[in-house]
């Protein structure tokens, strides 16, 4: 029982990161594709505006997942990180550039500096979800054996399933980001941006759905065990929920109901993450390491649960406070298109 509870905790972390973290990466995607300094200024301003107060807390979910996995499932952790060292190292470098460039862009003094930092931030925002998705694809398709770097360094993450999940990670993130940013734009009273992000949300949502459906065929030929898990029992139920929530999101966005769309979009991602867990049951590293074999002794698992349980008493209200303040606009700064920020700054300095 303890291993299942610890796995569930890790899955909660992965889900939270796949929703909140992905949305921040997706925001980077829209920043990247927003066009020239002038034309993209408003979109980039909204990305900066929406992400600033929350991206660090969102990022911590990744750390949360890592610490739970290396404490509760240490052998799996060592095997995953040594075999998948290349995509995970690339993701790590991406994380440095993404976070640092985003934080430094807030202090940029000229549009040129902001553009260089923005390009770094935005391109890393595409790299990270691809690499992390590819790593998950390697695990799910049974390419990570137990051992110190005993899997293939290349084909463990450059294979059909990995590439599919990597691309799906990028597209889903973009979709989530567009849904969230449309709602944020409405709160900031920027109707033109609501419209712009609504269009993006619908386009990326349709693309993500199509990719997911086509992806099932890829998984069927590349990782049959995973496919069977996703198309039967609890795995199938999750896939259906995810699909229904995805369609629901599109309907809500199309009707301009952006706040509920946030939550339905999150359900769609949560369901597919849960479906992945069900599909590869009872394995943690298919096809050899089961969850029970991978789990640390009960003393450790109990300590993790106790520690995180006590932590949750502080953490959950804190998170609730943060998101409540954000959604009520208490932490909002004045909205300012990114390109215009510099014209006003220049004026201030002249004065």
């Amino acid at each position: 029982m303890l291993p299942e509870i610890c796995l569930a905790l890790a899955m909660v972390g992965i889900t939270a990161y796949a929703v909140l973290g992905s949305a921040d990466f997706g925001a980077g995607f829209w920043d990247l594709t927003a066009g020239g300094a002038r034309r993209g200024g408003r979109v980039r301003g909204m990305v900066q505006h929406a992400m600033s107060p929350v991206w660090e807390a969102n990022h911590v979910w990744l750390i949360f997942v890592l610490v739970v996995v290396w404490t509760a499932f240490p052998v799996a952790f060592g095997s995953i990180f040594s075999t998948l060292s290349i995509p995970l190292f690339l993701a790590a470098l991406g994380i440095i550039f993404r976070g640092a460039a985003f934080a430094l862009r807030g202090q940029a003094g000229t549009i040129r500096e902001a553009r260089v930092l923005g390009a770094l931030f935005a391109s890393s925002s595409v790299l990270i979800p691809f690499c992390l998705g590819a790593a998950i694809g390697g695990i799910a398709s049974g390419r990570v054996p137990v051992g110190n770097a005993t899997g293939d360094v290349w084909s463990s993450w450059l294979n059909p399933t990995s590439v599919l999940i990597g691309v799906l990670g990028v597209v889903t993130g973009a979709h989530l980001a567009a849904v969230f940013l449309a709602a944020d734009s409405r709160r900031a009273g920027q109707e033109d941006l609501v419209h712009a992000f609504r269009t993006r949300a619908l386009g990326s949502g349709v693309l993500a759905g199509a990719l997911a459906l086509a992806g099932l065929l890829v998984v069927r030929s590349d990782a049959r065990a995973l496919f069977d898990g996703l198309t039967s029992g609890a795995g199938l139920a999750c896939v259906l929920v995810s699909g229904a929530a995805g369609v629901g999101t599109l309907v809500l966005v199309a009707r301009g109901r952006h706040e509920p769309a946030r939550f339905v979009a999150a359900v769609s991602v949560a369901a597919i993450v849960a479906g992945w867990a069900f599909a590869q049951r009872p394995y943690l590293l298919p096809p050899e390491l089961t969850l029970d074999e991978a789990a640390a002794p009960d003393a450790t698992l109990a300590a993790v649960l106790a520690g995180l349980g006590i932590g949750a008493v502080i953490l959950v209200p804190s998170l609730w406070l943060l998101y409540r303040l954000v959604l009520r606009g208490v932490l909002d700064q004045r909205f300012e298109p990114l390109d215009q920020r510099f014209t006003t700054l220049d004026k201030d300095e002249r004065r």
Partner: protein
């Protein structure tokens, strides 16, 4: 640790091919730590400073204090963001570079990191609320949202350092048949090396962050900017740094005596003491000669080492020869780092004393330009001492990753080609460092 049963040498948990890239892995880890640790200092100390200044604002209503607190909190947020990513790299590297270590011992020490994760979360949440809440939260509520930042900053470093303490004083598990069994996570976390390491690092945070920020305003002072804003910034940062620096000497003594008890070979490396000696002398400077097994060209002070390490001039101090050569750390690296740390630390403590004596007797800052020049130099020097201190403890623990249980070479990844990763990491950190320095310069120029 008495109750540790090491029945036989540790065998591999994961198992794999040869492990060719130990040197690169160690360099990458050291580089990443050296980049991250200065940021940790700001995470520990800066929140207490801006919260103190905000407290002054609440009491007096003077806008100068508020301007300073807003400014510092914005700088702190940017440094925190960079610390978030460099800290993430460290957690990735645990798996990327040391999979055998994690696979064997994650079950033992992991709990401390789980708690660190929670602290880190709370810190990130309240940092955002504090920095973005200046306009719309009431002043009192705003002040209160700063308190969790200070507490979680302390709790986070406490947890991480507990793991480092455990690596130096491993316990809370047994080794049976070459396997790590019966993990007792809480026992591992509350190890005997934890307390002095935590206090040493916590004070270092105040010394480093305090002197670096004070250095920025000292430079402004020397350029002739002597308004209330600069004056307040100087008094606050110097008070924190100059209070911490002399106390650090006492905690350092505690740490050294603890190392004497628990890791005598490490202490022998600090001092370049080849042979177990009664009434050992302390040697300042010089180089340890591996062939002759003694320190050459140093200044020798009789009995001082015994006096410092055991508080008894005739105490016997264990030498490097108590273990075979393959179990000894590289003496010169450790010794040079140790002497650098102690030398700079002593200087900073003296600088702190000058500030406090002047403040206590005259209620003002020292007037000599040399004092302000010294403060400008103190920031970078404190940073050097910080890194030297970590080199002392980390290289001093070699060849062990888990002291006397697991060798570093056993812990490393079997993945090949770390050279490429190393080069990439160096370039990325160079870019990062220049980015951060560029930003700090800009912020400093804005006043």
């Amino acid at each position: 640790m008495v109750d540790l049963v090491v029945a036989q040498a540790l065998s591999e948990t994961l198992g794999g091919g040869p492990q060719p890239d130990l040197l690169e892995a160690r360099q990458m880890q050291a580089l990443s730590l050296a980049v991250h640790i200065p940021l940790v200092c700001f995470g520990i100390a800066f929140p207490a400073m801006f919260l103190f200044v905000e407290g002054l604002y609440l009491r007096t209503g003077d806008e100068t204090f508020k301007r300073l607190a807003v400014k510092w909190s914005k700088v702190a947020l940017t440094l925190f963001a960079v610390g978030v990513v460099t800290g993430t790299i460290l957690s990735f590297e645990f798996g990327l570079l040391w999979p055998e270590f994690m696979a064997s011992f994650g079950q033992v020490f992991g709990i401390a990191f789980a708690l660190e994760g929670i602290s880190f979360f709370v810190e990130a949440i309240f940092m955002a609320i504090y920095v973005y809440g200046w306009q719309r939260l009431s002043p009192r509520v705003h002040f209160l949202t700063g308190i969790p930042i200070v507490i979680s900053g302390f709790a986070g470093s406490f947890n991480v350092i507990a793991v480092n303490g455990w690596m130096n004083d491993p316990g809370g598990f047994d080794v049976v048949g070459g396997r790590v069994v019966d993990p007792r996570p809480w026992e591992a976390m509350f190890n005997d090396a934890m307390a002095h390491e935590v206090f040493h690092m916590y004070l270092a945070g105040y010394v480093v962050a305090g002197f670096i920020v004070a250095g920025v305003y000292s430079a402004a002072w020397l350029r002739g900017r002597r308004d209330k804003y600069v004056h307040t910034a100087l008094v606050v940062t110097l008070s924190f740094a100059c209070l911490a620096a002399p106390v650090q000497v006492i905690v350092g003594d505690w740490a050294a005596r603890s190392v004497t008890q628990r890791q005598p070979v490490k202490l022998a490396a600090f001092e370049g003491l080849a042979h177990t000696t009664k009434g050992a002398s302390f040697t300042i400077g010089g180089v340890f000669d591996e062939d002759e097994q003694r320190v050459r060209w140093g200044i020798e002070i009789p009995h001082l080492l015994s006096l410092l390490a055991e508080h008894d001039p005739n105490a016997t101090i264990t030498g490097l020869d108590s273990v075979p050569p393959e179990d000894r750390p590289p003496v010169n690296v450790v010794r040079f780092a140790f002497q650098t740390m102690v030398g700079i630390g002593t200087g900073l403590a003296l600088l702190g004393a000058v500030f406090f004596l002047t403040w206590w007797r005259r209620r003002r800052l020292p007037r000599s330009r040399w004092f302000f020049r010294a403060v400008v130099a103190a920031g970078p020097l404190a940073l050097v001492a910080l890194i030297a201190g970590w080199i002392t403890t980390e290289v001093g623990r070699q060849p062990w990753i888990v002291y006397e249980v697991m060798r570093t070479e056993q812990a490393v990844t079997s993945a090949d080609g770390l050279e490429t990763g190393y080069v990439a990491l160096v370039l990325v950190y160079l870019a990062l460092a220049s980015g951060v320095l560029w930003m700090l310069r800009r912020l400093a120029r804005q006043g």
